[in-house]
């Protein structure tokens, strides 16, 4: 199981949309995917029409406290191959548990999630962690458990501030809890054809090589809130963002060493528009 943390130090950059849609495309491609919502607001959970009562059903909170087995907290979404561990308001209290040395020894507080996910690692090909921007114990757990990070960002000056912050944060994680953590790349979301966004995209793509930048960007698209309203991933809509997320996931798979997911091939075969038909959903 490859664990990918979708994280950034700034909010509102499309972390959840990226996590949900990447997970959906991966599942559509036949991979077994587990999406873990680590945001107490439960935004990723809200993307799916979950019939369970999250106030009583085990969530990421119970997963971390050990009150529930990982398999007990898993919800099958409507999408074949995509499972979810949800989040609810009580996850915001998890720091009380993780910082309490009587309940959770300090030495292992950052490794709890990694340890819990070990139990399901043979059941999934990918585990996507939708993180909060804040630098708390939940995020530390996510970064300790992940093999890779994907960094969604909007191409503006805040992106650079965020990267400066992240480079320090990731260096600390690599130095302490997770030396093998690897940055897969920066994904520009809500992209528009403006001079400023183009300048920032170009500058980050060509001006540095510490944070690789995904060639594929996600264009700003009105279908994203619409999809959310219908509790469906936007990749199941015929729209720009949907197509972009498909192409991004292909690029991600290529970066991970999967040979058959060339973006060029995807474009050549014109699988974008009839992506749903291609996947038998049209």
């Amino acid at each position: 199981m490859k664990t990918i943390a979708i994280t950034y130090s700034k909010g509102g950059v499309g972390k959840t949309a990226t996590a949900v849609n990447t997970a959906a495309v991966l599942a559509d491609e036949g991979f077994r995917v587990l999406l873990v919502d680590l945001d107490p607001q439960g935004c990723a959970t809200a993307n799916f029409s979950v019939k369970k009562d999250m106030e009583s059903f085990p969530t990421a909170f119970e997963l971390l406290t050990g009150d529930s087995e990982p398999s007990g907290a898993i919800i099958h979404t409507g999408i074949k191959g995509l499972d979810l561990i949800g989040a609810e308001y009580r996850l915001s209290k998890i720091n009380d548990f993780l910082y309490d040395p009587e309940k959770c020894p300090k030495e292992i507080a950052q490794y709890i999630l990694k340890d819990r996910l070990e139990e399901v690692k043979n059941n999934y090909d990918f585990c996507l962690l939708d993180c909060l921007p804040s630098d708390d114990m939940i995020k530390k757990n996510a970064l300790s458990a992940a093999n890779y990070v994907v960094l969604p960002a909007i191409a503006d000056d805040y992106a650079l501030t965020g990267l400066e912050y992240l480079s320090k944060e990731l260096a600390e994680v690599k130095r302490t809890t997770n030396p093998a953590l690897s940055v897969l790349g920066v994904l520009f979301t809500m992209n528009e054809n403006t001079a400023v966004k183009k300048a920032y995209t170009d500058a980050l793509s060509n001006g540095q090589n510490i944070f690789p930048v995904f060639q594929q960007t996600i264009r700003k698209c009105s279908k994203i809130p619409e999809a959310l309203n219908h509790q469906k991933p936007v990749v199941h809509y015929r729209c720009t963002a949907g197509r972009d997320y498909v192409a991004f996931t292909y690029e991600l798979l290529t970066r991970l060493g999967y040979d058959n997911y060339s973006v060029d091939k995807l474009k050549q075969q014109q699988l974008f528009q009839p992506y749903l038909a291609h996947k038998g959903r049209g």
Partner: protein, 340 residues
């Protein structure tokens, strides 16, 4: 619409790179499939490796295991460039046919940084001759220039484990000598010091005036730019052709060429007017700027002592002070000249 402040943007990117550098210096251990490992494109350290030496290393690895991991720069999940361990890599892939190998993995390190690490790693574990180090110097010098290191000579000296003076020799050779001559030095057929002397002589020929002349000429330059081209060797008094100079460039060029002819390399021991006993072949290296270079074997030292004795017998009162102005440490026109 206001234009984008690119200067500000580039500054911010520089900040990101500077804070991100920390990430590239942190390594972790990983078992990497050998099919994803690519040897460095320009590994000057590996050019002396032979099939036998690799077989020997493979035997050792087969017997004792791989004691030191390879060091690699991870470009992507399927591309790892070797920083250090090309011989080990060849041994485990070509001979032992390993499918994975344990590596210390750095990520997204810049090519220059990785190449510098490759040089450093090899310089730390193997001994290279002065001639071989010339190749290292040339490679490292370019990288350090690109990386805009603040004190490049010191950095190169630290990297190569040499003094800054030695680095200046390499610099003179790399800048002045032809490719063939540099190859001769690298292969050991010409000594580094001979090369450095040759380079210095050529530099001297290009610069017709000595350091002092340059200084005094520089002072005069503002009021009277002409004496800069003067063949005057002491810089104190202008020569007659300068005084009579009336703007005729041909005359000036002539004077310049004469000066160049006069500026043949001088050796303050074997001066032209001191007779050298016939039939002798010179044992010492030609002096370059009065600096002694090279080393003598015991046999050569004995031979030199004998020759000195013969010289003293032939010239009991020493060199004629009228003909010969011997300077302290051989620097002609030095303020220290004449001090014993």
């Amino acid at each position: 619409m206001m234009a984008i402040n690119l200067k500000n943007l580039n500054k911010r990117i520089e900040n990101v790179t500077a804070s991100g550098e920390k990430l590239t210096t942190l390594a972790h251990s990983e078992e990497v499939p050998t099919k994803y490992i690519i040897p460095a494109q320009n590994n000057i350290c590996a050019k002396h490796d032979t099939t036998e030496s690799i077989q020997e290393l493979a035997d050792s690895i087969a017997a004792s295991g791989l004691i030191h991991d390879l060091t690699v720069n991870k470009i992507s999940e399927t591309e790892y460039h070797i920083i250090s361990g090309e011989r080990r890599f060849r041994a485990v892939t070509r001979v032992l046919k390993w499918e994975t190998v344990s590596c210390r993995v750095y990520e997204h390190m810049s090519d220059d940084h990785a190449q510098l690490m490759l040089l450093e790693a090899n310089l730390q574990v193997r001994h290279y001759s002065d001639g071989e180090l010339l190749d290292f110097y040339k490679e490292a010098e370019q990288i350090i220039e690109r990386m805009q290191v603040k004190a490049p000579q010191q950095a190169l000296a630290a990297l190569l484990g040499k003094s800054t003076r030695q680095i200046r020799k390499y610099q003179a050779i790399a800048e002045t000598l032809s490719q063939d001559e540099q190859r001769a030095i690298a292969s050991g057929t010409m000594s580094l010091n001979t090369g450095a002397q040759l380079a210095q002589q050529r530099k001297d020929k290009k610069k017709p005036s000595g350091p002092k002349t340059k200084k005094s000429a520089g002072k005069k330059e503002k009021a009277e730019p002409i004496p800069k081209m003067s063949p005057d060797s002491n810089g104190e008094e202008p020569l007659p052709n300068q005084m009579s100079f009336d703007g005729n460039t041909a005359e000036l060029t002539g004077a310049f060429e004469d000066a160049a002819k006069e500026m043949q390399p001088e050796d303050d021991i074997a001066d032209k007017d001191v007779a050298t006993p016939a039939g002798y072949q010179r044992l010492t290296h030609e002096r370059c700027n009065g600096i002694k270079t090279g080393y003598w074997s015991d046999a050569n030292k004995e031979e030199l002592v004998q020759r000195l004795a013969e010289f003293e017998n032939a010239y009991p009162s020493g060199p004629n002070p009228e003909n010969k102005k011997v300077s302290f440490y051989g620097f002609k026109d030095s303020k220290l000249a004449g001090i014993k």
